[in-house]
């Protein structure tokens, strides 16, 4: 909305906020954090951009429609739960595997992370859908 300070800081803050949201998402695996807060922080990044410029610009930066993002997030979450069905275990049973990466060590990964990524996408999509629809409401 024409504030030079806001639009400049928004440009700098956005990548930081997005990085921080991914940090929260990954940290949630074993410590406080997770897909929900991560998604919210990511949503603030885009909301800040929408406030500094306008919602059309924010939508352009996002590249993906919020609805598509919600749908994709749901599908990712469903897939993470359904994987255990293929393994013959009850729905949503955690599946784990460890990978060895040279120079890094053992990496222990499981479906809860995939589920969290799904949550991240859904929360991001829902929050932005709300923000955009409110901002675009004709008064």
């Amino acid at each position: 909305m024409g504030s030079l300070i806001l639009s400049t800081t928004a440009r700098f803050l956005m990548p930081l906020l997005l990085l921080f949201s991914i940090f929260l998402l990954l940290r949630g695996h074993n410590k406080p954090g997770g897909g929900f807060v991560g998604g919210l922080v990511a949503a603030t990044a885009f909301s800040l951009y929408a406030v500094a410029y306008d919602t059309n610009a924010a939508r352009r930066v996002m590249r993906v429609d919020p609805h598509t993002m919600i749908g994709t997030g749901l599908l990712v979450a469903i897939a993470s739960g359904a994987l255990s069905l293929i393994a013959g275990q009850p729905f949503m049973t955690g599946q784990w595997g460890s990978f060895h990466i040279r120079g890094f060590g053992e990496l222990y990964l499981g479906t809860p992370l995939v589920f969290d990524i799904g949550v991240y996408l859904v929360v991001l999509g829902v929050a932005l859908l709300d923000v955009f629809s409110l901002a675009e409401e004709k008064s």
Binding site: H67, T68, G71, I78, P90, F91, M92
Partner: protein, 509 residues
């Protein structure tokens, strides 16, 4: 068989998710709606077969053992209800293709319908009280949106009453769940069934039973708590009110039957007598309301309430025959009620109005359609070869067996009055000649609307009605088979040991 129990939830959820991905492609959403409900029906029939052959099925989500994790259980009663959910979902999805307008479709009508079906299936399948609360919320939130979608004046007025009362009932539900957890230390229904029988303070258990009676009573629309239903069911699109009338109140009745057979059977003399009184009053007020109304869907809305009275009556009598009667009544009533609301939509389209006074002449112009109305209408009134007759017969027999002559008398009177209210619709909308003054201007536009939308659209309206009417006749003709099913379901309800054993498969003690 673990997959089967979660499929009725996963299929609608995945369908809704894919529809969201294709948000701007309405045609994809329409096809996904059809595909999703067909898949749900197929999965539910599969589940039903498994339960019928191998007995009660259970799975522990996330592999957390029973009293701690969330259990999904399907006994025969749940399985029957899930099949009907799939069937009604498919019928309404087809009907929606030709009746829901473009604006509603582009605001996510089809994904919402899927989420609603997911909530209903979840409520039928869960074996955990808190999880049941969550499914009720899923169902309610999607129904709020479906009810208000479109934003017409009448719709919003109905939606406010619906939302307020249902939120209140959810609050009571949550409080009751909290108190119950404090009392018993578990919310797994099978585990509760064991623990509540051992609780010494029966007074507390009865208090909690009353709280659950209130919350599920609101959802089921029983006597003093029903007024949100006739205030809202006549406002949304016809497809939406059909699925609401067919399924939502039945979820409330299902929950009542589940908790008052499995959990709160400590003081049957008190709780079930109270339920019997409520059942009688619900039947009477429902049918009196129906007789007094002059709008097609308002008459039907009050009939929904009256039917709930019959279903609850079987629970209150609490004999094997009475419960079988309740299950059978629910089974056939879901088909009949959905169908009647679908018929009312076609009548609205043909006459351009839903006011019975302004409708007319449908028998003269569309005799075959008139027959399609008569089948569910007469079944609702309980005329012999049709399904409603056998349901009422079983309940009346059970009433006589339990020597509750008062409720039998009420049930028979209410059936007569039901016939009266159905005759009223028949006389006004079908038999009487087209009123000349009001609709001469509207009638041609209505007919043009039908022809303009093409044969395809009319087909999507008529085919579900024909299939559901045929089903009503089939349930009536094969009443023996369906009643045997209901009897087995009732036996499972009355003797919870098999249910508890199925859940305990993964329970650690």
């Amino acid at each position: 068989m673990r997959v089967l129990l979660v499929l009725p939830i996963l299929i609608p959820l995945s369908t809704a998710a894919v529809s969201l991905v294709f948000w701007r492609r309405r045609s994809v959403q329409r096809w996904m709606g059809m595909a999703g409900t067909s898949g749900l029906l197929a999965a539910s029939v599969w589940l039903f077969e498994a339960v019928r052959r191998e007995g009660i099925q259970a799975t522990q989500v996330g592999n957390w053992s029973a009293p701690f994790g969330i259990t999904f259980v399907a006994d025969l009663f749940s399985a029957i209800m899930v099949v009907l959910t799939g069937l009604m979902g498919l019928a309404v999805a087809v009907y929606s293709l030709g009746s829901v307008d473009r604006r509603r479709e582009s605001f996510g009508y089809y994904p919402l319908l899927q989420i609603l079906l997911m909530g209903v299936c979840g409520a039928f399948l869960t074996g955990d009280l808190f999880n049941l609360y969550v499914w009720f919320e899923v169902m309610l939130i999607s129904s709020f949106v479906l009810l208000a979608l479109g934003g017409e004046r009448g719709q919003l007025e109905g939606a406010i009453k619906y939302v307020t009362l249902n939120l209140l009932s959810s609050a009571v539900f949550l409080a009751a769940v909290g108190l119950l957890y404090g009392l018993a230390g578990t919310l797994n229904m099978a585990d509760l069934a064991i623990k509540l029988r051992a609780v010494e303070q029966t007074g507390l258990v009865t208090t909690l039973a009353m709280m659950f009676l209130i919350t599920f009573g609101v959802k089921a629309a029983v006597f003093p708590l029903f007024f949100w239903l006739p205030a809202s069911y006549h406002t949304p699109p016809f497809a939406v009110s059909a699925i609401f009338a067919g399924l939502l109140t039945k979820v409330g009745v299902y929950a009542l039957i589940r908790v008052f057979t499995l959990l709160f059977v400590v003081d049957v003399g008190y709780t079930h007598t109270l339920i019997l009184v409520i059942a009688g009053l619900t039947m009477i007020t429902g049918v009196l309301g129906a007789v007094a109304q002059n709008e097609f869907r308002r008459v039907l809305s009050f009939q929904v309430i009256s039917s709930v009275g019959f279903m609850v009556m079987g629970l209150a009598l609490f004999t094997p025959l009475a419960l079988a009667g309740s299950v059978f009544y629910m089974l056939q009533d879901i088909v009949v009620k959905t169908n009647l609301f679908l018929v009312s939509g076609v009548a609205h389209r043909l006459c351009g109005t839903s006011e019975l006074k302004e409708q007319g002449g449908l028998y003269a112009t569309y005799p075959a359609f008139a027959l399609l109305f008569l089948i569910p209408a007469l079944s609702l009134a309980g005329i012999p070869p049709l399904s409603g007759f056998f349901a009422k017969l079983a309940l009346v027999q059970a009433g006589l067996g339990a020597q509750s002559y008062m409720i039998v008398f009420i049930a028979l009177t209410v059936s007569l009055l039901t016939l009266l209210s159905m005759t009223k619709i028949w006389n006004e909308a079908f038999w009487k000649p087209q009123p000349s003054d009001s609709s001469r201007a509207e009638m041609p536009t209505a007919i043009r609307a039908v022809t303009a939308s093409g044969r395809m659209a009319t087909g999507t309206l008529i085919v579900p009605i024909v299939i559901l009417a045929a089903l009503t006749v089939c349930i009536g003709l094969a009443a023996g088979f369906f009643f045997d099913l209901a009897t087995v379901a009732a036996e499972q309800l009355l003797d919870p040991t098999a249910y508890i054993r199925a859940v305990e498969g993964g329970m650690t003690r």
